[in-house]
C-alpha cells in the first residue's frame, strides 16, 4: 500500500522540465503514488469517492503544482473544493485526514527576490501559501514548510537535478517518519 500520495496538478506537464523530473523521481520510489489530476480529469469531472479513498489510504499528501496567479492551477482548486467535503475532511466527523502530512512542492516563474517586501510581489511565498496552510490545519493535517523552486522556466539541468535530490530526500524522510510513527 502506498503511503505517500502525490497530487500532481500541472496543465502542461509535457512542457515543464522541472515538474517532469520531479514526477519521474517520485514514481521510482516504493510506497509513493503519483496521481496526475489533469490526466485523470481533463474535463474537470472529479470522481470524489475515488479521490477520498486515495486520501484515506495515504499517510502523507504531497501537492505538486506550479504557482499561477498566487495560487494553484484551476483543477487543483476544483479538487480541493469538491473532494475535501464536510464530514470527510472537516466539520463534525470530518476526521479522515487528521494526522496526515501536507507538503506543497511548488514552482514559480519569478526570482526568489521578487517574493519579499521589497520585491515585485511585495510578500513572501509563505504568505501566499496561507490558504493552503489553513486548509491543511482545518483538516487536522500537519502542514510542512513548502519546497519551492523559483525561476522554474530558466533553471539549469544541474539545478533541476539538485532540486530533485532534495525532493527525494524529503520523501524518504516522510516515509521513514511515517514508518516510525506506526
Amino acid at each position: 500500500m502506498s503511503k505517500i500520495l502525490i497530487i500532481c496538478a500541472h496543465p502542461n506537464l509535457r512542457k515543464s522540465r522541472l515538474n517532469r523530473a520531479l514526477v519521474q523521481i517520485a514514481s521510482t520510489l516504493r510506497d509513493v503514488e503519483v496521481h496526475d489530476l489533469y490526466q485523470h480529469y481533463p474535463h474537470f469531472d472529479i470522481d470524489i469517492n475515488a479521490e477520498q479513498t486515495r486520501l484515506t489510504n495515504a499517510s502523507a499528501v504531497i501537492f505538486l503544482h506550479p504557482i499561477y496567479w498566487y495560487s494553484c492551477p484551476a483543477l487543483m482548486k476544483e479538487w480541493i473544493d469538491t473532494v475535501l467535503q464536510q464530514g470527510f475532511a472537516f466539520g463534525r466527523n470530518g476526521t479522515k485526514l487528521a494526522g496526515k502530512h501536507w507538503l506543497s512542492v511548488i514552482s514559480t516563474g519569478g526570482d526568489k527576490d521578487a517574493y519579499c517586501d521589497s520585491g515585485t510581489h511585495h510578500y513572501g511565498v509563505t504568505e501566499f501559501m496561507i490558504p493552503f496552510e489553513r486548509t491543511a490545519h482545518l483538516c487536522g493535517m500537519h502542514y510542512l514548510p513548502p519546497l519551492v523552486c523559483h525561476n522554474a522556466d530558466k533553471i539549469s539541468d544541474k539545478d533541476i537535478s539538485t532540486h530533485c535530490d532534495i525532493f527525494a530526500e524529503m520523501m524518504s524522510e516522510l516515509l521513514t517518519g511515517i514508518t516510525q510513527e506506526k
Binding site: N12, L13, H40, G110
Partner: protein, 617 residues
C-alpha cells in the same frame, strides 16, 4: 437476326433488366415486378426480341430458385429451424391441405373429373418461393412475424413437391403404363419402391454427414490456395452437385440445397459461401422472373380474356381466404396477418414444373394446362402489385387506427416546458437529461414500432408526426417554452421549423442538423440553436484516440477544444459564402491552413493559443 445466339440473348435479357428494374424500383414497384415487366416487353407477344425458347431459359433460370434456397438455408441455423417446426407443419400443412381442397372443389364445379380437379388443386396450392422471398427480403420484412410465417409455409410447400411428384401419376385417367414408367425413369432409375426410399434417405444422410465432415476440410484446403475463383468454383460445384444428386434420387433440388445450406449454416465459411453464391442467385433469379414475364401467353389471354381473368381472380381469392383464415387461427398480429396473406396469394414456379410433369404423364390434358399456366404466371406477376396494395392501402389503416387512440393520449400530458419531436437515439438523450433536471417534456415520435418499444421501457411517448399543426398544438405548442427537433430526416425538420415559426412564434427552436449544409439551412430558417448530429461524438472519439496514442489527456482535450472552436467559427463564416461553391472551397482550405498554423505555433510558442500563465514567462 439470329435469335438463338447466346451473346444476343444475354444482351437482350441484360438490357431489359438494366432498363426496367431501376425504373420499377424508382417507382416503388420493387425489382420483381421490374423483371416481370422486362420479360413481358421482350417476350414474343410484345417486342418479340426473344424466340420461343423462353421455356429452356426458364428451366435454366429455375436454378436461381435452388441457389436462393441454399442461401436461405445458410441463414438458418438448425436451432432456428427447430423453433419454426410448428409453423412449418401446422401453418404450412394446413395451407396446402385447405387450398388444395378449395381449388379442387372449384375445379369440380368447372366440370373437371375428380382426378383432374385434385391434380389441379395440388399443383396450384403451391406459392412462389422466388417472388415471395425476394419481395419480403427487399422490403426488409423477413425478420417480421409475417416474413417468418411466409417462409415456414413456403418451406413446407417445397417439401410437398416430392410426394406430389409421386402421387400425381396415380391420378392419371388414361393409365398408360409405358408413359408412366418413362416419366418416372427421369428421376428414379429403375429402382423399386423400397430401394428408392433407401436412395432418398441415403442422399439426405449423405448431405448431412458430408456437410459436417467433408465440406469443412475441403473449404479449408481450397481457401488455403488463396485463389478466389477456385473458391467460387467450389461453392458452385457444391450447389450444382447437390442439385444433381437430388435429381438422381427424385428429390427436389431446392430442398436438397436448402438442407445443405442448413448444415453449413454453422460452419466458418458461411459468409464466404453467401458472398460467392449471392451474385449468381441474383442474376439467375432475375433471369427467371424475366422468363416468367416472357412466357405469359398473351395470345391465349386475348382469346379467352374472361375465362383467364375469372380464373386468376378465383385463384387469388381462394388463396387469400385460406391464408387470412389461417393467419387468424394462428393468431398473427393484425397488420402481420395481411402482409402474410398478400404475400402468399399466388401460385409459383413449381407449378410450371408440375404442369409439365403432368403433361408428360398424361395426367392433365393440354387444354386444361395451357390456360392454367397463363393463370399462374399472371398470379405471380400480380404479387408485387398485391404487396404494393398492402403497403399503401392496408398497412396504413393499422397505423391510423392505432394513431387515433394514441393521439387521444396526448391531451392528458398537461402543460410541459419542452416539446421533443423525434425519440430516436438523439431525442432520448435530450429527454432523459432534461427530465433529470426537472423539466417536463412532451415527446412525439412518428415511428409506431419505436413508440411500442419505448412504451415497454416505461417511456411516455406519443405517436404522431410533429409536422402536423394539430398535433403540435395538441402537444402543447401554445404553452411550451421550447421545441427540440431531434429527427434525422432533414426535410421533416425544416417542415416542422416552418410550421412552428408560423403558428407558435413564441417557441424557441433547437434542431438537430445532419451536417454542415443542413446546419446552414437551419441557421437561415432562424433556429435558436443547432447541433450537428455526429460532430461532438466524433470529437469525443478523436480525444480518446489521441489519449490512446500517448498524448496527455488534458492536452488531447485542449486540442479537441481548439479544433471545435475553429470548426464552429468556420461553420459560421461559411454561412455567408455558401452560395458560391468556389469561394466555399477556397475558404475551407484557408481555414484548414489557419488551424494547422495555430496548432503548429502552439507547439513552438505557448503564448498564441493557450491561456498565458502568469509567472511562467
Amino acid at each position: 437476326m439470329d435469335h438463338g445466339g447466346l451473346m444476343y440473348q444475354a444482351f437482350i435479357f441484360l438490357l431489359a433488366a438494366v432498363i426496367s428494374v431501376p425504373i420499377a424500383k424508382r417507382l416503388g414497384l420493387g425489382s420483381v415486378l421490374g423483371y416481370l415487366l422486362a420479360g413481358v416487353a421482350i417476350g414474343p407477344f410484345a417486342l418479340g426480341l426473344v424466340g420461343h425458347n423462353v421455356e429452356n431459359i426458364m428451366h435454366f433460370a429455375e436454378f436461381g430458385v435452388v441457389m436462393m434456397l441454399f442461401l436461405v438455408g445458410l441463414e438458418l441455423q438448425p436451432s432456428l429451424l427447430w423453433k419454426l417446426r410448428l409453423p412449418i407443419l401446422g401453418l404450412g400443412g394446413l395451407q396446402v391441405l385447405l387450398t388444395t381442397a378449395a381449388i379442387s372443389a372449384a375445379a369440380l364445379a368447372f366440370g373437371l373429373p375428380w382426378q383432374w380437379a385434385l391434380a389441379v388443386g395440388l399443383i396450384l396450392a403451391l406459392s412462389s418461393t422466388a417472388i415471395v422471398l425476394q419481395s419480403l427480403n427487399e422490403k426488409g420484412l423477413m425478420g417480421t412475424e409475417a416474413g417468418q410465417s411466409s417462409f415456414a409455409v413456403l418451406l413446407f410447400q417445397d417439401i410437398t413437391v416430392i410426394p406430389m411428384l409421386a402421387l400425381l401419376p396415380v391420378l392419371a385417367i388414361t393409365t398408360d403404363t409405358t408413359d408412366l414408367a418413362s416419366g418416372h425413369a427421369e428421376s428414379v432409375v429403375g429402382l423399386s419402391g423400397w430401394q428408392h426410399t433407401l436412395a432418398v434417405l441415403g442422399a439426405v444422410v449423405g448431405i448431412i454427414i458430408g456437410g459436417r465432415v467433408l465440406i469443412r476440410p475441403l473449404f479449408r484446403f481450397i481457401a488455403a490456395t488463396r485463389l478466389r475463383e477456385i473458391f467460387t468454383a467450389t461453392a458452385l460445384l457444391l450447389v450444382i452437385g447437390i442439385a444433381l444428386l437430388m435429381g438422381l434420387v427424385g428429390l427436389s433440388a431446392a430442398l436438397g440445397t436448402f438442407l445443405a445450406g442448413v448444415v453449413l449454416a454453422e460452419s466458418e465459411y458461411r459468409h464466404e459461401l453467401e458472398a460467392e453464391i449471392e451474385p449468381f442467385k441474383g442474376l439467375l433469379l432475375g433471369l427467371f422472373f424475366i422468363s416468367v414475364g416472357a412466357s405469359i401467353d398473351f395470345a391465349l389471354l386475348a382469346e379467352k380474356p374472361l375465362l383467364i381473368a375469372t380464373l386468376v381472380c378465383l385463384l387469388i381469392s381462394i388463396k387469400f381466404i385460406v391464408l387470412i383464415t389461417l393467419a387468424k387461427i394462428f393468431r398473427l398480429q393484425n397488420n402481420q396477418q395481411w402482409t402474410f396473406t398478400f404475400a402468399l396469394a399466388q401460385s409459383g414456379e413449381f407449378c410450371f414444373v408440375l404442369f409439365s410433369f403432368a403433361s408428360q404423364n398424361h395426367i392433365l390434358p393440354a387444354d386444361v394446362i395451357d390456360p392454367l399456366i397463363v393463370v399462374v404466371a399472371l398470379s405471380m406477376a400480380l404479387t408485387p402489385l398485391l404487396m404494393i396494395i398492402n403497403d399503401r392501402c392496408v398497412q396504413p389503416l393499422f397505423l391510423r387506427n392505432t394513431t387515433e387512440t394514441r393521439e387521444a393520449d396526448t391531451i392528458d400530458n398537461g402543460e410541459t416546458d419542452v416539446i421533443i419531436a423525434g425519440f430516436g437515439r438523439f431525442g432520448q438523450i435530450i429527454d432523459r437529461s432534461l427530465n433529470l433536471s426537472g423539466y417536463s417534456t412532451t415527446v412525439l415520435e412518428h415511428d409506431a414500432v419505436q413508440v411500442e418499444n419505448l412504451r415497454k421501457f416505461g417511456h411516455k411517448v406519443f405517436y404522431g408526426d410533429a409536422s402536423r399543426q394539430d398535433l403540435l398544438h395538441a402537444a402543447g405548442g401554445d404553452t411550451a417554452k421550447l421545441l427540440v427537433i431531434a429527427l434525422d430526416d432533414h426535410e421533416k425538420v425544416m417542415d416542422i421549423i416552418t410550421l412552428a415559426k408560423r403558428h407558435f412564434p413564441h417557441l424557441k427552436i433547437y434542431a438537430r442538423a445532419r451536417g454542415r449544409v443542413q446546419a446552414h439551412e437551419l441557421h437561415k430558417a432562424g433556429v435558436d440553436g443547432f447541433v450537428r448530429e455526429t460532430f461532438h461524438s466524433a470529437l469525443a472519439m478523436s480525444e480518446q484516440v489521441m489519449g490512446a496514442l500517448g498524448m496527455h489527456a488534458y492536452e488531447a482535450h485542449k486540442t479537441m477544444r481548439t479544433f471545435r472552436k475553429f470548426d464552429e467559427q468556420h461553420l459560421r463564416d461559411m454561412i455567408h459564402v455558401e452560395q458560391d461553391p468556389k469561394a466555399y472551397i477556397s475558404n475551407a482550405q484557408k481555414n484548414r491552413a489557419e488551424l494547422e498554423k495555430v496548432m503548429q505555433a502552439d507547439e513552438e510558442d505557448p503564448e498564441l493559443l493557450e491561456q498565458q500563465h502568469w509567472g511562467h514567462k
